[in-house]
């Protein structure tokens, strides 16, 4: 443990247990991690501002102080940067007044120059400073009002406000998606560390020294990166705000649905934050194996299109499938439930039906953060349920007389390649959106979007992950895709669980599983990582 760039070691299930003494009581904690995580593992929360489990430890906020018994007596150390060693003696505020006072003083110092913006701050309600303040006994400020707030950030952005006070830059334009409020910044440098170590593009810097430090980009440069909105997540205060969510909703009015982003085969775990029937933002949901706590801008901003250009609900009826060969193409956002229903339809139609899955979009490279680059989210699930690749279908498209697309916008993805499909007489499109395929279809049927259905998907790491339905469907009468397809097959699935059970019949690895058996962070399927 020596330098600034160390990533914290997080405890795992296999961590060796060591005995340490917390407040003179022996406890067993994970031995290969830092003190903060070790205490967390036994239920002792330590307030912290600059520490983030997936960022290198910087140790500049000094909020996580604990006392450690050492050769020179009891010393204050920061819990985030102290490795656990067997037999160490730790004192928390529960027994040590010195720790309590030290944390209180740190808290007070941090709040001395922090503006009282909470009523208009977008972070209010999920702000680390607010949480620490509540934790540290809600002490009254000892600042005299005439002294005011003395931190004003970058001198170039200072201004005199309506009351005649000198203020720091309140909305500094950092880039196309992020605004910076220099007054609110507490210089924890989480955003700097994120851009440096995770995003791998050092676009943010701390400039100036001591209490003149401020966050800035290089002169003439802008903060512009596929992951730049993550800096608004890691910011413990409201200094970094996302332009798309600025002033949209107070965060305590949002409800959260845990689900999985279906635009990439890594299946980044997300929260859909919704209120009064609309999704307001998408936040990454921490999953140590999949996306940690990062989310790409593409996945994060995709929600803005979820309720636009939708097909309305209509009476579902079974099309006459004719006598020729039938191709059923499942798109990348199909859940396992949809795939099971498609498989059931295929079995009802017999040998003349064939099932394909995938998209015409190009498969990219994994970026190592929260994207695998494959736009077909459920590709592993398609493999499990015996779907052929859609490229196969494109080669033999002329054989078929009927084409059923489920959540697959073939015409929109590659209009040139999809031209051959126009020779197919009967085209049925089952899709949430009024997209190019729906426009060219003989029959188009509206279904629920993946954010509005319960379901499961298998990601590129062979992990079974659960999607939950966010109650934001624009039309309550819309059916889920698995319901429409299973209705066509003759026996409609009323609940997603029935369809999942059916999927278990087709894929033995899913047999016997229930939704309750899948943890919120997913379940690694037998056979290990794909």
């Amino acid at each position: 443990m020596s330098n600034y760039y160390n990533m914290p070691k997080l405890p795992t299930e296999n961590s060796p247990k060591v005995e340490i003494f917390v407040d003179d009581k022996p406890v067993m904690v994970p031995g290969d991690t830092n003190l903060l995580e070790a205490l967390k593992a036994v239920g002792i929360e330590t307030p912290h501002v600059c520490y983030h489990p997936y960022l290198p430890v910087s140790g500049n906020c000094r909020q996580c102080l604990v006392e450690q018994e050492g050769p020179r007596g009891r010393m204050l150390v920061i819990a985030c940067y102290t490795p656990v060693s067997p037999g160490m003696k730790i004192y928390t505020p529960a027994s040590s007044a010195r720790v309590k006072n030290a944390r209180k003083a740190t808290q007070e110092f941090m709040l001395v120059n922090h503006p009282l913006d909470c009523p208009i701050c977008d972070k209010a309600g999920e702000c680390t400073l607010q949480e620490n303040y509540m934790e540290a006994d809600q002490n009254e400020s000892r600042m005299r009002p005439e002294y005011g707030k003395n931190y004003h950030g970058n001198p170039a952005h200072q201004f005199i406000d309506a009351k005649g006070q000198l203020r720091g830059g309140k909305h500094v334009d950092l880039g196309p998606r992020v605004l910076l409020d220099e007054e609110r910044c507490v210089q924890c440098d989480r955003c700097v560390r994120f851009m440096r170590s995770i995003a791998g593009s050092e676009q943010l810097q701390l400039a100036g020294r001591a209490d003149h430090t401020y966050i800035t980009t290089f002169p003439g440069e802008k903060l512009d990166h596929e992951y730049d909105l993550c800096v608004t997540d890691v910011c413990p205060v409201g200094a970094m705000t996302a332009k798309y969510f600025r002033f949209q909703k107070r965060v305590w009015l949002l409800s959260h649905t845990p689900t999985v982003s279906m635009d990439d085969s890594l299946g980044a775990n997300i929260w859909l934050d919704y209120a009064d029937g609309h999704i307001y933002r998408v936040m990454p949901r921490c999953n140590p194996v999949v996306n940690r706590s990062w989310l790409s801008n593409t996945s994060r901003l995709a929600f803005q299109e979820f309720d636009k250009n939708r097909l309305p609900s209509m009476e579902v009826h079974t099309p006459a499938f004719g006598n020729g060969k039938i191709a059923i193409v499942a798109g990348g956002t199909c859940t396992l439930e949809d795939l099971a229903a498609i498989r059931m339809l295929k079995e009802k139609l017999g040998d003349r039906a064939e099932i394909f899955g995938g998209s015409l979009l190009k498969v990219g490279e994994p970026d190592g953060i929260a994207k695998s680059g494959d736009p077909v989210a459920n590709r592993a699930g398609m493999k499990l349920l015996g779907f052929a690749d859609v490229a196969d279908f494109m080669k033999r498209a002329s054989e078929f007389e009927t084409l059923v697309t489920v959540n697959a916008d073939l015409f929109g993805e590659d209009p040139a390649a999809a031209g051959v499909l126009e020779k197919i007489n009967c085209r049925v499109a089952i899709t949430p959106f009024d997209d190019a395929t729906a426009k060219k279809a003989t029959i188009a049927m509206g279904v629920r979007h993946w954010s509005e259905v319960q379901g499961t998907m298998v990601n590129s790491l062979n992990m079974l992950q659960k999607l939950n339905a966010c109650p934001v469907c624009p039309d309550e009468n819309l059916w889920a895709a698995y319901q429409v397809v299973s209705y066509m097959a003759g026996s409609k699935f009323e609940a997603a669980a029935d369809a999942f059970k059916k999927a278990g019949e087709y894929a033995p690895v899913l047999a016997g599983l229930t939704y309750d058996a899948i943890k919120s962070t997913g379940k690694l399927l037998e056979g290990g990582e794909a």
């Binding site: 913006d117 208009i120 201004f159 005199i160 406000d161 309506a162 203020r167 309140k170 002033f247």
Partner: protein, 188 residues
């Protein structure tokens, strides 16, 4: 416990007829006073005569204005959070004034749902919302009209608040048409 014994009725009371006449006389006395000496009545005849309301009475809301005529409200939503009846609806947007962060785009109070508890005025961190208009009667033709909008809440006259200095500084009402135009509100 105190037991109050009722006095037994006297013979005159028990005969009933005299007491009935006495009661009738009281009624007639007040009726006659209403006819001939109306101003001495202890009650007010409500629609014509208005009750005296103090400015501490929790009446209809108003939104205070800055000296430039823009609402003081910063759309923080504290009033809506405090409201037990959930009758306040706020939408925020970024302010055009670079010195001010956030401004209110929509501020609706549904006075059919409002319970006039005053918690909203209490919660306001910038003293933008007050309930001192002394307007206690609400009569409208449709339910929608009971919802007070931003224009309605800021449309007050400083003359009605002679004792309040802050109301005098603000232009109030539709007087500062220029400022309201900057704010993007219709000026009648």
């Amino acid at each position: 416990m105190r037991v109050i014994k009722q006095k037994p009725m006297t013979l005159g009371e028990r005969l009933y007829i005299f007491e009935a006449l006495r009661g009738l006389f009281t009624t007639l006395k007040h009726a006659a006073r209403g006819l001939f000496r109306y101003e001495e009545l202890p009650t007010i005849s409500y629609p014509e005569g208005q009750p005296e309301v103090r400015n501490t009475y929790r009446a209809k809301h108003r939104l205070m204005l800055r000296p430039d005529g823009t609402p003081r409200c910063v759309a923080c939503g504290m009033c809506a959070a405090a409201c037990p009846a959930h009758c306040i609806f706020i939408e925020a947007t970024a302010s055009d004034d670079p010195r001010i962060e956030k401004k209110v785009k929509r501020f609706d109070i549904d006075h059919l749902t409002c319970v006039f508890c005053g918690l909203c005025a209490e919660a306001c961190p910038v003293d933008a919302l007050r309930m001192d208009t002394k307007k206690i009667s609400f009569e409208h033709r449709s339910r929608e009209e009971f919802v007070a909008h931003l224009e309605d809440l800021t449309n007050w006259d400083p003359k009605d608040y002679p004792d309040d200095e802050q109301s005098q500084v603000a232009p109030g009402g539709t007087k500062n048409a220029e400022a309201l135009k900057v704010w993007g509100m219709e000026v009648k």
